[in-house]
């Protein structure tokens, strides 16, 4: 009588592979098996996948990139903010909190902060809603709708130089907009779009919106695909109009995308530089009245001849905290809204 012996089932991750003497697999082949997409023949694949270091190995390139290009520069900036370092290097000494004290007492810093915050406060809500409305419009499957989708996306592809020149041409005293308004007898004198500091700021916001609409429209088009059409049909049968359906079905359905767009736009708005430079030139508008925080950092921290990288770093840290604060506030508001 042959007695069947029951082989013990190894606990995953604790088994040891036996090997015939002289054929012990090398470390290299074990590593190879671990890295291959599937379990190697004769080995317990699950066990190999449970090597503690394997997830770290996959994540290593991304972690390395984040550390080198994100974490390290950030920590370096924080460190520099307590020194009087110069943009070109050289000897620097620890100055404690004096850069922060100077920053808080500098009226130019507060002006730049006001402009940056104002930019975010106006641009973010518009950038969250307008591309969504645009996406709802072009989502419909109508003949020729592809043309409109492409047309709305075109500004995203245009180079900054071309956009800057085009907007200057549109907004100049003898530009297209003023000429039309004057020919239509709506205004007698040209509107000083490019010489009034408030108008420059508003036009720069318009430029940001114009360039970003198409980009975020694509985000929303993807998100709208996840909103079940049945909900719209049911609501329509219950007598809900288009506007009601938009606020009660579409908006809740794309809330996560709105959160993402809001966060990205908020960060971008606080860091705005190019649009102000395009319309307000080197000084950031007449008298530097449209300077935002990045403009201010350029002037006080990055100038190779008279810059103070330590002070510039302190302002950069303030900009970071401002961005972080607004992002957390937006998240909190969204959560409260959801609950």
């Amino acid at each position: 009588m042959v007695t069947d012996t029951v082989k013990p089932v190894p606990v995953p991750g604790t088994e040891r592979t036996t090997s015939v003497p002289g054929t012990t697999p090398s470390r290299l082949s074990r590593l190879g098996r671990a890295l291959l997409p599937g379990p190697a023949a004769g080995a317990n694949g699950a066990a190999l996948y449970r090597r503690w270091w394997l997830p770290w190995l996959w994540a290593a390139p991304a972690i390395l990139c984040a550390a080198v290009f994100g974490v390290f520069p950030f920590l370096n900036t924080v460190l520099l903010s307590f020194t009087n370092a110069k943009p070109l290097g050289g000897a620097a000494s620890f100055v404690g909190l004096s850069n922060y004290r100077r920053m808080l007492g500098d009226s130019d810093f507060w002006l730049a902060t006001r402009n940056s915050v104002l930019y975010a406060v106006i641009v973010v809500p518009l950038m969250v809603l307008l591309p969504l409305m645009l996406a709802v419009l072009v989502e419909k499957k109508l003949p020729g709708i592809g043309f409109f989708r492409s047309a709305f996306y075109t500004p995203v592809l245009a180079s900054s130089v071309v956009v800057g020149l085009s907007w200057q041409w549109l907004l100049a005293d003898d530009g297209l907009i003023n000429t039309w308004l004057q020919k239509a007898h709506l205004i007698k004198q040209a509107i000083p779009f490019l010489s009034d500091s408030w108008l420059i700021l508003l036009c720069a916001m318009g430029l940001t919106l114009w360039k970003g609409l198409g980009w975020y429209m694509v985000f929303y088009l993807a998100a709208l695909g996840n909103v079940p059409n049945e909900l719209h049909e049911a609501a329509a049968m219950d007598g809900a109009g288009a506007i009601r359906r938009f606020w009660h079905i579409t908006v809740p359905g794309v809330r996560q995308a709105m959160m993402l767009v809001g966060t990205l736009t908020g960060i971008g708005s606080l860091r705005v530089f190019t649009e102000i430079f395009m319309l307000g030139s080197y000084t950031g508008g007449p008298g530097g009245a449209d300077r935002t925080l990045p403009f201010y950092i350029r002037d006080v921290g990055l100038d190779p001849m008279t810059g103070n990288a330590g002070y510039g770093s302190a302002v950069s840290v303030a900009l970071f905290l401002l961005t972080l604060g607004l992002t957390l506030l937006a998240q909190r508001l969204t959560k409260e809204d959801e609950s």
Binding site: S195, S281, Y282, T283, G287, V300, T306
Partner: protein, 458 residues
């Protein structure tokens, strides 16, 4: 346990990174182990310190110009070919930078990354920054005979301060443009101004601008409003000391003529001598002049070439005149373009040899003779060439050459070297005065305070 070990390792890494950053802050100067550094980069010992540079002219170097490839590709390729022929084993790779307003920042970033091109065309602000940080070769030390070909005044002014405040020759003067008035004769005639009699003072020129404002009535203008085009050039011409001798404090507010100058600018802006929307515009007069909407063009002689190429009808109405010499009594021609050699060069003997070859009298003369350019050489032998001595022709192009050749014999090449941030700070205040938001007195006072604040931190 493993996770804890990993966290520990990452913490160590972060601490090490921070320590490394801290070390980076104190960089510069020589290392204790005897190896040489330039800025924050390890370099060959011969590149820094005293002693002539020696070594074989062999190896590959990079040569960077600023926005010259499009128009002068043929000339520079010829120079490179001739150099490589004269020095077998030497190779020159030519790159061309667009030379936009981020040039200094980008070049400084290259220097910090130890990737500065071996031979580089720089302007005065960039040369100032690079010399201060020790990224450029001290040319008069590395080749004591290097000064010989240059006009003494150009060579004398081609110095910049190193980290210790000592003026060194980190640049070779290359080409210079000079400065002149370019104007539309028709528009001047309409305003009752005689184009053949350009004013001799800047306030005289401003008075002409006022006449143009009255005649133009918004149809055409005298010039552009942004004071960034005139500061500090106008003040230099008026012999107003913008900065103290050591460059560490602003002094322009101490001269009452500065307030008068700002008052004039505010008046001209208010009266419509300048397009209102050009107050903070980055556009120079090129476009509007070419459209016949602005009476005075750029003061750069090469502007005449631009008009000739892009607007022949306006070129036909264009004339040139001497820039008002004002209180200075001679042209404030500004600093020339410079050629520098990076102290970080791995083939410094090749780089130095090429820099000297490029700026020698023969090559400078050849380039200046290009029919499409109005530039002038900085070498004595070149200026003796009949091409510059006997200018003929009545066209604006030839006249521009003649005027600049005359003025360069005794021109002032010591343009005030303002950092972009200081210049922006001053310009901002003048803009506020032009808008009527500040009195000229207050604007000048505030401009000086803002400039001082930046100079103090620098």
């Amino acid at each position: 346990m493993r996770a804890r070990r990993l966290s520990g390792s990452l913490t160590c890494l972060a601490v090490l990174s921070l320590t490394a950053a801290g070390c980076g802050l104190s960089g510069g100067g020589s290392d204790g182990d005897g190896s040489a550094t330039a800025g924050g980069c390890k370099v060959a010992k011969g590149n820094v310190g005293s002693g002539k540079l020696t070594g074989e002219v062999k190896g590959k170097i990079t040569f960077q110009t600023t926005n010259l490839k499009k128009d002068f590709g043929g000339f520079f390729n010829g120079v490179i070919k001739a150099f490589e022929k004269a020095h077998p084993g030497a190779q020159v790779k030519w790159i061309d930078d667009p030379g936009d307003n981020t040039f200094t920042q980008r070049t400084v970033a290259d220097a910090q990354a130890c990737t500065l091109p071996d031979v580089i065309n720089v302007n005065a602000p960039t040369a100032t920054a690079l010399t201060k940080a020790g990224y450029l070769l001290d040319l008069s030390v590395k080749d004591p005979a290097v000064a010989k070909p240059f006009v003494p005044s150009f060579w004398k002014s081609a110095t910049f301060e190193d980290a210790s405040g000592k003026a060194i020759h980190a640049t070779l003067p290359w080409y210079t443009g000079g400065v002149l008035l370019t104007y539309n004769k028709d528009l001047l005639n309409k305003a009752g101004i005689d184009p053949a009699k350009p004013p001799t003072t800047l306030f005289g020129l401003f008075a002409d601008y006022e006449k143009i404002a009255k005649a133009g009535k918004g149809k055409f203008y005298a010039t552009m409003a942004n004071p960034i085009w005139r500061i500090p050039a106008d003040w230099d011409q008026m012999n107003i000391k913008t900065l103290s001798a050591d460059g560490k404090t602003a002094t322009f507010a101490n001269d009452p003529r500065t307030t008068q100058w700002v008052a004039w600018m505010a008046k001209l802006y208010k009266e419509g001598a300048m397009p209102k929307d050009s107050l903070s515009s980055s556009n120079d007069p090129s476009t509007l002049y070419s459209q016949g909407k602005v009476a005075y063009g750029s003061t750069n002689p090469s502007f005449v070439r631009f008009v000739k190429q892009n607007s022949p009808s306006i070129y036909a109405k264009t004339a040139v005149g001497q820039q008002p010499y004002d209180a200075l009594g001679r042209a404030s021609a500004g600093a020339p373009q410079y050629i520098s050699v990076a102290a970080t060069s791995k083939h410094a003997p090749v780089a130095l040899a090429f820099a000297e070859f490029l700026t020698n009298a023969e090559n400078q003369t050849a380039w200046c003779k290009d029919p499409n350019v109005v530039i002038f050489p900085t070498t004595s032998a070149s200026l003796e060439d009949p091409f510059f001595q006997n200018v003929t022709g009545d066209d604006p192009f030839s006249q521009a050459r003649k005027l600049v050749a005359d003025q360069l014999k005794r021109a002032d090449t010591n343009q005030t070297n303002l950092s972009p941030a200081v210049q922006n700070a001053i310009v901002s205040q003048v803009q506020l005065a032009m808008q009527g938001k500040k009195t000229p007195e207050q604007a000048v006072k505030d401009a000086q305070a803002k400039a001082d604040e930046l100079l103090k931190q620098g």
